[in-house]
């Protein structure tokens, strides 16, 4: 028994180290990008605006990516998040401009609630009708955006329609950390804690790992999947509020194309597209990496037109690197077993 115990513990350690390494690799990439950009131009990190933007810019996508990660972990995907961000951002703006003196908290609640309802629509269709989420959310991507365009028409919400107390949320800082970033990080910590330490959080992993087994097991698959979509919608709703606060202007195209960014962030962060694997931390880091790359490229002197290509190369590079590291680790594990 003793020999086995030793092997077990060493295997355990290497495995958990591997688990951590996935997120670590992405964190490293973020740090490298920041260092490179800062060396090129001090202002990227060491100016007031540079520091603020470094933290602020990824915050909105981070929220969406966290929700997306949880949905993907259940072996689903939510392609409608971009449209939900658009709708809720517009709702935020309209509430402020139509209802004078409306409290900010009420608007946040309304936007998050709208996001949750939209998420509920997705979730109900997926969970009850038992159809692939990719199809459903591709459909609602079009439908929600269409509703946004019909509702907004050519109107847009301008910064002047928004109360300055709300706008200052978008740029305000507490101890030099932007308020939006603080909120996003709190959400991230809560989601991370839940997914790791709550029974129902772990059930999401089980469902994504093998839905049929989860059914046999008697897990409440429908409820969890529904919850994941509602959460994703609610977080997209919160991101919509952030969007309005940060950008001040909301038109009917706000947030379009974010679905791929959010899925990309999750996948880059090590969330397996087939579910069951990954953490919201990874997804958050993926979002930070994506947004930071976007901001660093002009600073690094990459011409505007070529930035898209560089982003593509970096995305592919990040996932290839991740894969290579994982394969290497696995091989090392096998060799270790052989030697024991």
């Amino acid at each position: 028994m003793t020999t086995i115990a030793i092997r077990t513990s060493s295997v355990t350690k290497t495995l958990s180290a591997l688990g951590r390494a996935r997120e670590l690799g992405i964190l490293l990439a973020v740090v490298l990008v920041v260092i490179a950009a800062t060396v090129k131009n001090q202002a990227f990190l060491f100016s007031h605006d540079g520091w603020r933007d470094l933290l602020l810019t990824p915050s909105i996508l981070l929220l969406v990516a966290v929700g997306q990660a949880i949905v993907i972990i259940t072996r689903n995907v939510d392609l409608s998040v971009g449209s939900v961000v658009g709708l809720t951002a517009y709702l935020t703006g309209r509430l402020f401009s139509d209802v004078h003196g409306i409290p900010i908290v009420l608007v946040v609640v309304a936007a998050v609630a709208l996001g949750a309802v939209l998420g509920l629509i997705n979730g109900a269709l997926v969970a009850f009708a038992n159809v692939p989420s990719m199809v459903i959310t591709l459909g609602t991507l079009y439908a929600f955006r269409g509703i946004d365009v019909v509702w907004a028409g050519s109107n847009r919400v301008n910064a002047s329609d928004l109360p300055s107390s709300f706008l200052s949320l978008g740029t305000g800082q507490l101890l030099s950390i932007p308020i939006l970033t603080i909120v996003a990080v709190v959400v991230l910590i809560a989601a991370g804690w839940y997914m790791r330490n709550a029974r129902s959080g772990r059930e999401h992993y089980a469902i994504g790992s093998d839905p049929a087994a989860a059914h046999l097991y008697g897990l409440r698959v429908t409820r969890r999947v529904l919850f994941a979509f509602v959460l994703s919608g609610a977080l997209a709703g919160l991101a919509g509020v952030f969007y309005a606060a940060r950008y001040g202007t909301v038109d009917s195209q706000a947030g379009s194309g974010w679905e791929l960014q959010a899925v990309g962030a999750a996948v880059i962060g090590g969330v397996a597209i087939m579910g069951g694997v990954g953490t919201v931390w990874g997804a958050a880091l993926g979002a930070v990496l994506l947004m930071t790359i976007n901001r660093a490229l002009p600073v690094l002197g990459i011409p505007d037109f070529w930035q898209g290509a560089v982003v593509g190369v970096l995305i592919i590079g990040a996932i290839v690197l991740d894969r290579v590291l994982a394969v290497r680790q696995k091989r090392r594990l096998i060799e270790a077993r052989d030697d024991s």
Binding site: G139, G308, A309, V310, I315, V320
Partner: protein, 344 residues
Amino acid sequence: MTTTTAPLRAVRDFTHPLWRRVVATRESAIVALLVIVAVVASVTVRGFSQPITLTYLLLDVTPILLIALPMTLVMITGEIDLSVGSMVGLSSVVTGALVQAHWPFGIAAIMALLVGVLGGAVNGLLVTVVGLPSLAVTIGTLALFRGVAVGTLGTTAVTDFPDQWTALAQARISGTTIPYVMIPFLILLVVFAVLLHFTPFGRGIYAVGLSKDAARFSGVNVERTKLILFILTGVVSAFAGIFYTLRFGSARGDNATGLELQVIAAVVLGGVSVFGGRGKLYGVVAAVLLIGALSSALRLANVTSDVINIITGILLVVSVVAASVLAWAQKKRRRPHVTASTAA
């Protein structure tokens, strides 16, 4: 088992008769819907029944029709290619840049097709050799191909294409209102339909989509199958890019932005499962035409694009939900019947 005493049991080929197998499918529902939309629109929408409608409709959906063919095969293996729209743009830019550099158009087009092969191979190799999920890979190449396209031409748009070529892209087969480009499309359709439905390779595609492991254990070369399909998708997208360039007479880096989701929406509407293993080519073709006819009719009725988008989205959702509700209802209906017969 010749020594067994039991007589050889004759096994039926099919559970249901042919008509039921054909009629009670999602594909047939889409075809029926297409017919209904066409008939209703001809009667109610002014201007829809004129012959020119067909020309415009077909020209509009040609890039989607073309790319949907290989995309169907890719999605049946359980993979996906999100980079097709960017590949259309890249192929357009390659054609344009070479024509601008005074290459003959034919050679430029061939180079664009080669770029399609190359791009497809990049996707395919990353998926098969490196073993990455195709959704992630092609989100990356979506950005990469588009980035190279935009980077290459920058602000400029190449517009000086030979007139005989641009005219050909719009020309109609004489005496009809059907564009010439339908000929290469029909050839490709036959090729892909035979490949998918009537070859051992096609059987392998379905097997890979349903169970990668079982396919491998049966001697299907999973990696090669996928690689070939990604390359086909790349090259057909490049072909669509050339058509796109000629139809609009303009090569630009941002050509066909967002086309990928339209293609995937059509493929999925046509009954292909995003999990792989299921789908028929005729369903997909009917779905592309359905979306095309619907938007054409709605535009003629002065319905704005946002409403058209809502309708497309709802159609997608309803089509899958309806199928599942129908199956559920059927199950419900059957149950008391069985109980009754066993009780009797």
